[in-house]
């Protein structure tokens, strides 16, 4: 009995969780200028508008550049941290790992503001995409570490030793044994970091300077009611892209778990 009520609650909860997102395509294909019910009829004109919008394209390009570079750098740093914490036990490990993971809970405005101050006031440099990348690497690294730690921790340290024992150099052992075993984790963390960076607004808003990223561009659109349907269309595509990327990430993460012969019951975090 109580279990049925619990299930009902969970279903309701999940429905509410997804409800706002479900509205996206509804308004994206709505022929009306105003984002409100009743609907005005089916139209794909808002999507068509996306194809010809040059500002949008350059913002998208900026975001892709930022997301690719940040995710690669964050994952490289994440591999170092995840391997160090899984493989070695050393003094100060907890404190250092804590410092690397702090951006996970730090309010993003603090990250944005503090990097802004360093770039603008201390270094006296112009803002730009490079500053966004620098900050995105900082906030993506903890997520990369979280995903990669699972992969590295489930790796039997004897694996690499066995490879060494069978005649491989340290690099050879890492390349032929460790890397293939954690590869799915690496792909998963790349995709997750890419998604985070692509969506990130709060920090990018402070640091992007004259060349906006996609979320900063969308923020600009939100001020003009006439542009809102475009935001809906764009949002639909973004949500779709996120879901595809994350599904791929989840598939890779699970494949990694299966490959390492580990029982799988966890999520990304």
């Amino acid at each position: 009995m109580s279990r049925r009520w619990l299930l009902l609650y969970v279903v309701l909860y999940m429905a509410l969780l997804y409800a706002p997102i479900a509205l996206l395509p509804i308004f994206a294909f709505n022929d009306g200028q105003v984002i409100a019910f009743p609907l005005q009829g089916f139209s794909t004109r808002w999507f068509e508008g996306l194809w010809t919008n040059r500002t949008l394209h350059s913002a998208l390009w900026n975001s892709l550049v930022v997301a690719v570079i940040s995710s690669v750098l964050a994952v490289v740093l994440g591999i170092c941290a995840a391997r160090a914490s899984a493989r070695y036990a050393f003094r100060g490990q907890g404190a250092v790992m804590g410092m690397i993971m702090v951006p996970l809970v730090l309010p993003e405005i603090i990250v944005g503001v503090s990097v802004l101050i360093v770039v603008n006031t201390v270094l006296g440099l112009p803002l730009g995409l490079w500053a966004v990348i620098a900050a995105h690497v900082l906030i993506c690294t903890p997520f990369a570490v979280a995903v990669l730690s699972g992969a590295f921790q489930s790796l039997d340290p004897a694996m690499e030793e066995a490879a060494r024992d069978l005649g491989e150099t340290p690099w050879g052992a890492f390349r032929t044994v460790t890397l293939p075993l954690v590869a799915p984790g690496i792909v998963a963390s790349l995709l997750i970091c890419f998604t985070i960076s692509l969506d990130e607004f709060i920090i990018a808003f402070f640091l992007t300077g004259a060349s906006p990223t996609l979320p900063v561009y969308i923020w600009g659109l939100l001020r003009f009611p006439a542009d809102l349907p475009i935001v809906m269309a764009l949002g639909t595509l973004l949500v779709l892209a996120s879901i595809v990327l994350l599904t791929m990430a989840e598939i890779f993460r699970r494949r990694g778990a299966a490959r390492a012969g580990r029982k799988d019951s966890g999520g990304f975090l």
Binding site: A158, E161, D165, L166, G167, R259, G261
Partner: protein, 354 residues
Amino acid sequence: MSLIDLSGVQKWYGEYHALRGIDLQIAAGEFFSLLGPSGCGKTTLLRTIAGFEGIDAGTLRIDGLDMRGVTPDRRPTNMVFQSYAIFPHLTVAQNVAYGLRRTADGREEKARRVGEALEMVGLGGYGGRRPHELSGGQRQRVALARALVLRPKVLLLDEPLSALDRKMRETMQSELRRLQRQVGITFILVTHDQEEALIMSDRVAVMFEGAIAQVASPQALYSRPADRRVADFLGAMNFLPAEVRDGRVEIAGLGACEVEPEQVIGAGGMAEAGMRPEAMTMLDVQPGEGLREAAGTIADRAYYGDMTYYMVELPGVPGHVTVSMKNRPGSAVLDVGAPARIGWDPRAVLLFPA
């Protein structure tokens, strides 16, 4: 000349003294075991020989060559890991072929060697399998084939049987012994299971707290342990307070007797007398010829199927002595609380310094 020669080997982990001056020679073709309780340094010693741990003092020679600074990939040793460390992303054949990657053999020669190695461990035809499709025993065989295919001078085995169930363990024990005779390679086995060490080895080194207490054949180890700890660790032994006076020994609860010099371990004066449970008999169950007699009370009894163990209280002795009796058809079973007559042989007594 011995194949492996360690002298004065020391190893520290920070403040922890893991190996306290190990001197050890192991001959070519020997089946050698490192036996001891967990934390005694036996695995560290094995990993030192494999090259996974450096040494802080002393020398380690394999086949006459100093191994200082020689990494595991360049040592003539191969290892079977406790977890087997079978690469899960490779097939059985690819696992076995892994170490051949850097050898000069051609593709066909490599395939032949892999097949031969798998055949040798009884896994012929399993080459295409994935590791997760194998049982524990089969994984172990893959690990063996993977190491042996490289024809090392020494095969190192780190508690290879501890993860197997009892039946499988017994099968693998004789299998390992057979393999070792077949390939003629030196095997060094780390184990905490004394029975396993006794069954399989030519010689055994018993280790405690980072030092070797005794190196001997299984028979010598059991019948003439170097000290109390070894005697206690290998099998069971009853210890009774004893006093040595004018060549005679007065054993509390048992009585006086004379002992030969080889029965005395260490100095005279106050001592402890040690006797194996099977060196004593319950005279009411199994009478014996030329035995000394002692009287006590049966405090408890444990039935093991093939054996019955009697815990006997002796007058003036704290605790009890254990006497093991083989159960034969029709042999009597004595009751707890009944008086007991113990027969004991002075020639089976060992004297340890107190």
